[in-house]
Symmetry: C2
Subunit: 458 residues, 2 copies
């Protein structure tokens, strides 16, 4: 045993130093790898080794083959999609979670992770200024969190679904700017993509409540059963914000479940002056915010909150004999709240992040990102060759060259080809649009200014 | 930036030493914590800190409050459920995955993790002696893997389901010993728990093919649509092995999807003399084996293999504009194969494990676990006060005191109350049965002998 552990001790120290050096010098690495599909596969042996290999050999290959093939999401100049950060407290939390390797199937199988999940999500909930009755549970991704929201909505509308299967007349509503995961969730749940109504949005890419109300009326007249509205706070294309208050009004009138997808923007909810953007979310039945997006937490940690945990529980509770334990009102069994039975110790890294930065530290970082995005937007506005395509309420700016889609695509390709920045695109009103998104912990004001410099010069 | 990184460097080295000490001395820690529900919640502040805290303070609380509240799944005397191991190469893999924090939504967002997922699963597939055409993809848990299997079965039987919703006449079959996740998956997918037929098993807890054939006939006569059979190789209660060949025969005859749940036992498939236990799995349409169970890989890593990736892809592919990329036949987009869109770099730890131990090293460890379980079974058989309740083909032994359920429950409670071992129970033929399961990397033959010593003396 001892040689096995000593081997780890040596390699572990080496890995910590490698990570520290990597974090210190990330800008020296290209954000996007220069690699063709299949190249890494071809560079690796077709079969695994018969005999064990040394950490030295494995780590050498990691540096030589894996890192150069990785798109570096933890890079300060990753400004595509929604940037994310694996911050240092989160990395330490992951290390210790890996060492303990607990599995919170039910309370007894891991009191520590079961209760820390409740504690850390309760801290986050308070900072987000959400009502006390919101119960938190962690899933891997927002897609899976939203799937559980829609499943709970189904349970509420049709309690027999869990036993008899889904009715084919159930309808889910989301804006045409909602994330594609809503449609995918409906496919998985047996509701069907055709039963997801994509409600038109207004000129600023926000769901139109009048169109929502009309769509619901139409379905009711046709004898269908509206069960769920998904409002997005911070859409994936433009970070537009659906009018949650007005949507909540409609959902309540029809007894429908209101799910708020704040996977990216939810982090900003803890910033006092941004909190008004989230007006109405306290009326949601459920809400998802990904700590692994803009809350400096290592992939994956999707925080799911619901005011109606008992409905989620009814949809998913199913306890076989070999997992039966004594009942205690304070012993929460997280397996009752969703599909996954095994559950790793994800809350540890979130708890480390919340403690290491504190509320003020997190607010300060988020505030900077939003400020820099506003500065970038102002620079775009000041340049007559460019135009902005959507409001930028948070840390994402959508803009384009005044020109053809081809010219914009070419501009984006040339920026990413430098290896210095990774930006992504979207399509709005049929036109190709470039997105610049800020959110990594190591990003500086200078990085953002440099991005604009590079874009202008190309 | 530099102070931020230096702070990590210092704390990181401290954490590596803590982990090494913990791994060296795990037996000094109780397997099960002495803690009451709510005790950790009460010991922690009700709100998070305003200002950031030092790693020193956070790590001190980790040691003082979190570790004593944790059920130690990484403990050599954890012999409950299915033991698991976070081995040292897996921990290093997790550390580096956390540092890179890649997110393999599609190929371009992380070529390294997309391709290493294919490579590491291909190595594992070869060692398991599965046909080349099995395509591998990683999910978090077996529950989620099996959900995707049943969703693929539905896609095959009813290609309109993804658009129009699930029909209510679809039927899934599994043995009465199958894992509860199959029923839960059917609930989630909108198939309904009532449409999962639990087929009776024989005296050795294996699905009865004649009963399966009869159930299918009955459903066909009633106008229902059988879509999927789940065969279990290594059931959760007894590790019994369903007759896969005979079940495959029936599934093929009816054009049904055959899913093999080998979440625990699949690891043993790489041991040549145990491979015959898996006869017929090459005829499966899909198969799940959890590397985080008996393959020494940190939670979570559920390896899902399917011979029909195109069906899975049809069930789940849905690509929004902001994720559209150029087409390349070698660029696999893993988001197309399931519900989760985000995808952390899980394959890195598996690749580290496969390389560090090599095929021979893994075989040797698995072989030892099976041998010690056989020795334990022989000791139980030799003691007239005890009886064994099921065959022990692998590393789990089911036994009981010849006496009442209460006496057996009391025995189990007293063993676990010592804090030295964690064993679990199940119910077979209406009787309370104790399970001893071997699978942690640090478990020794002496640990197993000591467990028997303790049980006998109590």
């Amino acid at each position: 045993m001892s040689e096995y552990v000593n081997d780890f001790r040596r390699a572990g120290h080496e890995v910590v130093d490698w990570i520290a050096d990597f974090l210190e010098n990330t800008r020296d690495y290209p954000v996007l790898p220069k690699i063709k599909p299949g190249e890494l596969i071809d560079a690796l042996p077709r079969s695994g080794p018969e005999k064990g290999e040394s950490f030295e050999a494995i780590l050498a290959d990691f540096r030589k083959l894996i890192v150069p093939a990785a798109t570096l999401w933890n890079h300060p100049r990753f400004m595509a999609y929604f940037p994310s950060t694996s911050s240092t407290p989160a990395i330490l939390g992951e290390m210790l979670a890996a060492a303990l390797n607990t599995n919170a199937i039910h309370w007894k199988t891991s009191p520590a992770s079961t209760e820390l999940e409740q504690v850390s999500l309760s801290w986050l909930r308070q900072w987000m200024n959400l009502p006390d009755e919101f119960f938190g549970v962690i899933f891997d991704t927002a897609s899976v969190s939203s799937m559980h929201a829609i499943a709970a909505a189904r349970e509420l509308a049709d309690p027999e679904a869990r036993e008899n299967g889904a009715r084919r007349d159930l309808v889910v509503y989301a804006a045409d700017q909602a994330h594609s995961s809503i449609a995918k969730d409906a496919m998985a749940l047996g509701i069907g993509r055709r039963n997801v109504r994509l409600i038109p949005s207004d000129a600023e890419f926000r769901m139109r409540p009048d169109a929502l109300a009309a769509a619901i009326e139409q379905d009711l007249v046709a004898g269908r059963k509206p069960i769920c509205v998904v409002a997005t706070v911070g859409t994936t294309s433009t970070t537009s914000i659906d009018p949650v208050e007005a949507i909540a009004e409609i959902a309540e009138r029809h007894g429908m479940w209101l799910h708020v997808d704040a996977a990216y923007a939810g982090a900003a909810c803890i910033v006092p002056e941004l909190r008004p953007l989230f007006a109405g979310i306290e009326r949601a039945d459920s809400l998802v915010v990904n700590a692994h997006k803009w809350l400096f937490t290592t992939m994956d940690l999707s925080a799911f909150f619901t005011r109606r945990p008992e409905v989620l529980r009814r949809a998913f509770s199913l306890v076989p004999e070999y997992l039966r334990t004594a009942k205690d009102p304070r012993a929460v069994n997280l397996m009752d709240y969703g599909v996954p039975l095994g559950r790793r110790f994800r809350s540890l890294k979130l708890w480390f992040v919340l403690r290491y930065f504190g509320r003020e530290g997190l607010i300060e970082m988020l505030r900077s990102h939003v400020r820099w995005a506003q500065e970038f937007a102002a620079m775009v506005d000041a340049d007559p060759r460019f135009e902005r395509i959507a409001p930028a309420p948070l840390s994402v700016v959508c803009f384009r060259l005044k020109g053809s889609d081809q010219e914009n695509q070419a501009l984006l390709d040339r920026v990413t080809a430098t290896g210095k920045f990774f930006l992504s695109h979207t399509v709005l009103n049929g036109r190709f649009v470039i997105r610049l998104a800020i959110g990594n912990i190591a990003t500086t004001r200078e990085d953002v200014a440099y991005a604009w410099e590079l874009i202008r010069s190309i």
